[in-house]
Amino acid sequence: MAVLVIADHDGVTLRDSTLKVLTAAKALSADIDVLVYGAGSATVAAQAAKASGVRKVLTSESAGLNADIAEDVAALIAGLAAGYDAVAIPASASGKNFAPRVAALLDVSIISDVIEVIDAKTFVRPIYAGNALETVQTSDAKVVLTVRPTTFTAVAADGGSAAVEAASVPADFAGTRFVGEEKVTSDRPELGAAKVVVSGGRALGSADEFHAVIEPLADKLGAAVGASRAAVDAGYAPNDYQVGQTGKVVAPALYIAVGISGAIQHLAGMKDSKVIVAINKDPEAPIFQIADYGLVEDYKTAVPALMAALG
């Protein structure tokens, strides 16, 4: 029994989520290899090789892999799958894009968003936006999983000394062409990995107000910035900020929700945070039902007072 873990990285740094998926993989097997695909794979592979408990690191680059084209990524992984009993993929937008393809190529079921590994064939995953948890057992010979990193602790980033090898390079899929990308650049910590997250909701009323209120508070706390779906839909914040069932799932030590009412789909994305603070002028807002500390006050006075109290 061996597991192939697909690394999540930005071309320079191995993301913390990979170390968390490694913890999930360890519950399946002691033989764990990591695949680092895409531009910068050599640099990132060196980091993955140091992670605790990794047997071997594989790298692969091509035009399609570098652009994260799902057809190419899945072909690469399916080609390697003969040597593994399970493939564990971080449940990021990228992972969710190619993981079902890997499963389809292997003619097995996909098990999405795993939050707990019971044994090598049995897993717990959220359904209905996290309002129910399903324990499923697969009868497939091979297992393809996406793993929700926030529910696992990270393995040690140091201590390992795995060998790094080049894997095969898939031929680029002809039907799909990379046209361009627009990435949001920020010096703040990444939303999925931040210890503190400050999120703004529809109450902010405009993109200008979102910048003027949420961002300074986030910077004061060294926090990542998040947003509710309503705020993203209204154009106050970019899509990448969305915390919720269909956006990012976060579980920081401290989550501060400003002007967020607390729709079910938002709660699904943050209710595993250690400490939740809600600031909302409506005392009936559902967010207060799950907040550890609630401040019933207009954000317009509460946030400046909070900034002052933080010193």
Partner: protein
């Protein structure tokens, strides 16, 4: 150009989901059911492509219980031309659905399959990707913008860190994200007209594909509850509490 839109009947997104006491699943009795919201966005996008003169025919397909006819009628009222219900009481997994849809596509030969990125019941986010793989067609998931240029769809996608644009050669599978459009409400005259639009019913056996489940659901449970904490009087009390809790 023909567009196929698969749609799923799910618990309405406003309904509070209740787990059954015997842990066999979620209580669906007397619960409001609706079209999966992401599928509604897919229907809307297809109708807009038709209104723009790009699409000529929209076929909505649903795989599920007999009552799924209601959401097909909704799709027809929004502007789809024809409905197809593959009736089954079995809860078919994404791989099985993808295989069935592949068989439907062999008969219907659409140029585009437009579908929701995930259904809000199983939250798998898998069927579109699996279908594209089985067909050997390109995929563009999590679409927030779709532009058809000749035999290519330029699709802007919501990805980690921002947006990515792909050009996919048609035929292709496109899955929708929340910000692609705001679905219309069907007007009363269109709801009446939809009752007269053609709707075929078939069975899973008609397609001869393997839809046997691969997963066994051992139990469905409620997530651990989080209880409400305390209300604080002002910002300084909040900061004092957070310091005591050790998170500041």
């Amino acid at each position: 150009m023909k567009i196929l839109v698969p749609v799923k009947r799910v618990i309405d997104y406003n309904v509070k989901v209740r787990v059954k006491a015997d842990q066999t699943g979620v209580d669906l009795a007397n619960v409001k059911m609706s079209m999966n919201p992401f599928d509604e966005i897919a229907v809307e996008e297809a109708v807009r492509l038709k209104e723009a003169g790009i699409a000529t025919e929209i076929v909505a397909v649903s795989i599920g219980v007999a009552q799924s006819e209601a959401i097909l009628r909704t799709a027809l009222a929004m502007g789809a031309d024809r409905g197809l219900l593959i009736q089954t009481d079995q809860d078919i997994e994404p791989l099985g659905i993808a295989k069935l849809l592949k068989a439907v596509i062999a008969e219907e030969t659409p140029n585009i399959v437009l579908m929701g990125k995930q259904a809000i019941d199983g939250d798998n986010n898998a069927t579109g990707q699996m279908l594209s793989t089985l067909l050997g067609w390109p995929q563009a998931t999590f679409a927030s913008k779709v532009v058809i240029e000749g035999d290519e769809a330029k699709v802007t996608r919501e990805v980690d860190g921002g947006l990515q644009t792909l050009g996919v050669k048609l035929p292709a599978v496109i899955t929708t994200d929340l910000r692609l459009n705001e679905p219309r409400y069907a007007s009363l005259p269109n709801i009446m007209k939809a009752k007269k639009k053609p709707l075929d019913t078939k069975s899973v056996a008609d397609y001869g594909v393997d839809v046997a489940p691969r997963l066994k659901v051992l139990k469905v449970t409620e997530p651990p509850k989080r209880s409400a904490g305390i209300k604080v009087a002002d910002a300084s009390a909040l900061v004092a509490n957070l310091k005591t809790a050790g998170v500041l």
